[in-house]
Symmetry: C2
Subunit: 192 residues, 2 copies
């Protein structure tokens, strides 16, 4: 912990500098030295907290750019919660899709990064999705035979697949995914 | 085309040498020089045909290790065709999963390779899956409201997601995916 700044806010400042740079120049176009320079700290200050650029950016995405969990305490149909949650994620990915692609590339080229990425990125997102889908099944919005683990793989898989194949994630994709998972026609927007 | 061997079989020999090496040593552990040496040709012979190791290995996977398309001319339920097709793909990926991860990494780190990979890998597989799903819908095995394009993304996405997250692709996953897509209980194995 040598070199750790005394103010807790500094951690967030460093992460924000990192996110700002990768959003502007692309994940591959930014080095840890660039981030240190932009944040006005030494590379050692960054390496005291994070093992690599990938880990710093991963933590920045997790702590700054993550969506709040869907609120499962209220009465809203889980299909609507899913659609809104996906819509927010896809909006984030229009800013951070290149960064996510860069992080996934790092899991593939530096195998030691995969467990870090799982722990900080995919596993928490799977847990959120599973909670929503199990809750929907318990409320009868999904049939008793529904397989939440597989549906979660379908949902995350669909947008990873599109992201990695260079295809867009338009807002109506959120509605199509929620509609297919809940296998009911789209709600009538004119009804109130 | 300088240096192109006269016998058409040689192309396949070169591809088989490439596949054999990446299966044994891992995609990242094999260079184009290794492949040339194993095949008993010069690097120039390989570069006359393929732009890179990634392209050579991609073509090898496509031409040697691809599954035959599901047979849509027969009466077999499309759910069964889907399950058997996925089972065969997952068996292939137990041999070539590391290679596919290496090729996907290359699409992320060398953007010029993504269109090549789409044209030779993902797009043809999407076309096969879409043909099966459209046929299933036309035969009434999927509801008229089914969205084949999205279901195809669900199916490919689910196993890409698992593969990229270092998770297994067990044979029963094929049955679970086919069951969820067709949303019917698993067939009774004891019935004849």
């Amino acid at each position: 912990m040598a070199g750790r700044p005394r103010k807790p806010a500094a951690r967030r400042d460093l992460q924000q500098a990192a996110l700002r740079l990768v959003r502007r120049h692309g994940y591959a176009g930014v080095t840890i030295s660039d981030i240190a320079r932009a944040a006005g700290v030494s590379r050692q200050t960054l390496y005291a907290r994070w093992d690599s650029k990938a880990e710093l950016v991963l933590h920045a995405i997790f702590e700054i750019a993550s969506q709040p969990d869907p609120d499962l305490s209220g009465p809203e149909p889980r299909r609507v919660l899913l659609e809104n949650f996906l819509r927010a994620i896809f909006a984030d990915l229009s800013a951070d899709g290149d960064t996510l692609r860069g992080l996934i590339a790092t899991t593939l080229t530096e195998p030691g990064f995969l467990p870090v990425f799982r722990a900080r990125f995919s596993a928490p997102r799977e847990a959120i999705m599973l909670a929503l889908l199990h809750d929907a099944r318990a409320r009868g919005e999904l049939p008793a035979t529904a397989d939440p683990e597989l549906l979660s793989d379908f949902i995350h898989g669909a947008f990873w697949y599109r992201l990695l194949n260079g295809q867009p994630l338009p807002p109506d994709l959120a509605q199509r995914i929620a509609g297919a998972v809940f296998a009911t026609p789209a709600p009538d927007q004119s009804a109130g």
